[in-house]
Symmetry: C2
């Protein structure tokens, strides 16, 4: 008689975005005249850049003729794309990463959810608090995190690393040694970045204790500060302890086009087994390559034309960041992030809880954001706004919040 | 200190297609004049149909303008696609499947590899022998299959159901009761199909013993025989025991475009937990939706224009089937499959092993196929040819084999 994976039942309901949705809809239905602006979800709004559109049309035309038709792509991605990434994202930044260490996938969410599979069952993970929920949930589903304490909002076997204004949103090394350390910089949800010096400390720490770092760099395109590394491989020794996950969602607007990649250096090994081989085996068994047309679109991201257009597109969202940062600061808010990341993390005024501020913002300013407590207990008393709206909506939202 | 998932190390090397590749390259390098034709790998060769190309171009244009741009798609797929599938693939065949029981994914390989995750660790799986390797390998990676006996080519905890000419390539119920039964019809690699009556027996058996059937129907578009069901939901009682996996790869040439779907009826539940909810949770945590442009392309598969063009495309491959079947029969071969499936399964002549026949075919006819033993011990003495080549190559390959 078949039985289910009971680890799934341990997961608390994923209430954050559904509660946001319900509350927004309820407000809108009782206030049909209200023009509600959402700076909540981290989805882009600008269209794909012209160079990418052109590449997509050309790739579609390739698929229309037997001579240029493309069937199954290589499981790990087309070599022309892997080489282009190696050159642009790594060689040009003096990072030692080769094309065959790059695994093309359908996105950073899949990779960050699936990567735990190649590790042993008894692994102890460490995550920042607040955190992107996929890191923890995917480990819970695999039976790794112990039991959930609903009141404390914590798993018994997860090591939490609080990130608050007090530590500048960069965690200290945990008291207990973890096996797997998830780091996301620039950070979702706090918008904080990490200096190369501080990231080097983490790499040294991981090498010292024999841990692996899963480094989610999905937002690197938003980095403004020259002290902030774009890749963990800018640090010495990262090749023996760090896996890096990248996305085309936020640098090129691929949230609905789907593409990402993961780097696993061949030097990371345990008992003579390379993590690189394990991940290759996973790709070969449970994945059948990313679409040809989407991989072609990614090539345009690295063309001269594409780079120029995307610089402008990211500039558009970064201008939104400044509008939010400047407007809220002027209105007396404590605001964080927003310089190297598309997220603005603000302290709720007057000791309001994150949800109290959500309700107030919705009813008094008709603006929707994301309560910080939804990302973990240390997010309580904070609130996330994103820069991915249109410029006009962003300006209007800030005007309303300031007036509130 | 991190540790690896040692279940991965139990997997024998995946030598089948790499050995085929190496042998083909070696032959070609010592015989540069030889015009080697491959009927080996199950990849399509015909371009995407004009209706699909048109839909892709239109969807790309949507992505070029803010008003029609599409960011994150719903995790489970766009409702317009799920409803279209429910209507065309199920309602029109009198199958009771609703749109919200359909989960859109990036392909049948991902789904058939990932589906085991929602089941308990101690599950006993049953597979046909020969078999598509993903069903077993994905369970091995999850630690389910016991130990591998290299000589016998069998896992200690897997229930094998031999499929040979003696039983018409349809297995008998196993002596031990499995928890999860993988069935693939029309079958890869044997090309066999199953009658509705016989499939009903399997559904009744699964319901009786409390097993779940994972029904891989990736090749249903090739069914010619009206007695052969296109979906397991044509059988009574399938809604309480069967998950169905479908692909756009072989009916619409999406091997390099990537799209598939899985159906989980809401009636399959254990201890009050619906498998539907577990799979939805997995999609929500480890997947971020299939590309908008690809989902739009799938809509064209169901348009009047698309249906007509794809009927012709499948007809093209089915003509290849007949060329192979007729030509080999006439040359004295015992051939199977090829009527309801794009695969032809032949008995090697003169008691040759599958690999002996491979070598002979390569050197004497310059044709590459797939040794049946690569799919499992009961495949020994058989050989797979696919109908996915061009008509000209297929005709020429058959001419050479017949002359051999």
């Amino acid at each position: 008689m078949y039985n289910i994976n009971r680890n799934y039942l341990k997961l608390p309901g994923s209430y954050l975005f559904s509660t946001i949705g319900r509350k927004s809809r309820e407000y809108q239905s009782t206030h049909p005249e209200a023009d509600v602006i959402s700076l909540g979800i981290g989805d882009v709004t600008q269209p794909l850049a012209p160079a990418i559109i052109k590449a997509l049309h050309e790739a579609v035309d390739d698929m229309a003729h037997a001579e240029t038709f493309h069937g199954y792509s290589p499981d790990l991605g087309y070599s022309w794309l892997r080489e282009t990434i190696a050159k642009n994202d790594y060689e040009d930044r003096n990072c030692d990463v080769t094309a065959d260490e790059i695994f093309i996938s359908d996105g950073a969410k899949s990779d960050s959810g699936n990567i735990q599979e190649i590790f042993a069952q008894n692994q102890r993970i460490a995550v920042c608090d607040p955190v992107y929920p996929v890191y923890v949930d995917s480990n819970v589903m695999a039976g790794r995190c112990g039991t959930y304490d609903k009141a404390a909002e914590r798993w018994s076997d997860v090591i939490y690393m609080p990130c608050t204004a007090d530590n500048g949103f960069t965690p200290s090394f945990p008291k207990e040694d973890p096996d797997i350390i998830y780091l996301c910089y620039p950070n979702n949800p706090t918008g904080a970045s990490i200096t190369k010096e501080r990231l080097q400390d983490w790499v040294d720490y991981a090498n010292r204790i024999g841990a692996v770092i899963i480094y989610d760099a999905a937002y690197e395109a938003y980095i403004s500060d020259s002290e902030v590394p774009h890749s963990i491989y800018e640090c010495e020794g990262a090749r023996t302890c760090a896996i890096e996950i990248r996305s085309f969602s936020k640098n090129a607007g691929f949230t609905g086009t789907r593409l990402g990649f993961t780097v696993i250096p061949k030097e990371i090994e345990r008992d003579g087994v390379k993590l690189h081989s394990l991940w290759a085996r996973r790709h070969g068994t449970k994945f059948n390559g990313a679409p040809y047309i989407v991989q072609k679109a990614a090539m345009a991201v690295y063309s001269e034309e594409g780079k120029a257009e995307l610089k402008e597109q990211i500039g558009y969202y970064k201008r939104n960041c400044r509008v939010i940062m400047d407007g809220l600061k002027e209105a007396g808010y404590d605001v964080y992030g927003g310089v190297d990341a598309p997220y603005i993390w603000l302290k709720t005024p007057g000791h309001m809880t994150s949800w109290e501020f959500f309700d107030r913002l919705l009813s008094h300013a008709n603006v929707v954001g994301t309560p910080g407590s939804g990302f973990g207990p240390s997010g309580e008393g904070y609130f996330r706004l994103t820069a991915f709206g249109s410029y006009e909506n962003t300006k209007e939202a800030v005007r309303r919040i300031a007036r509130m």
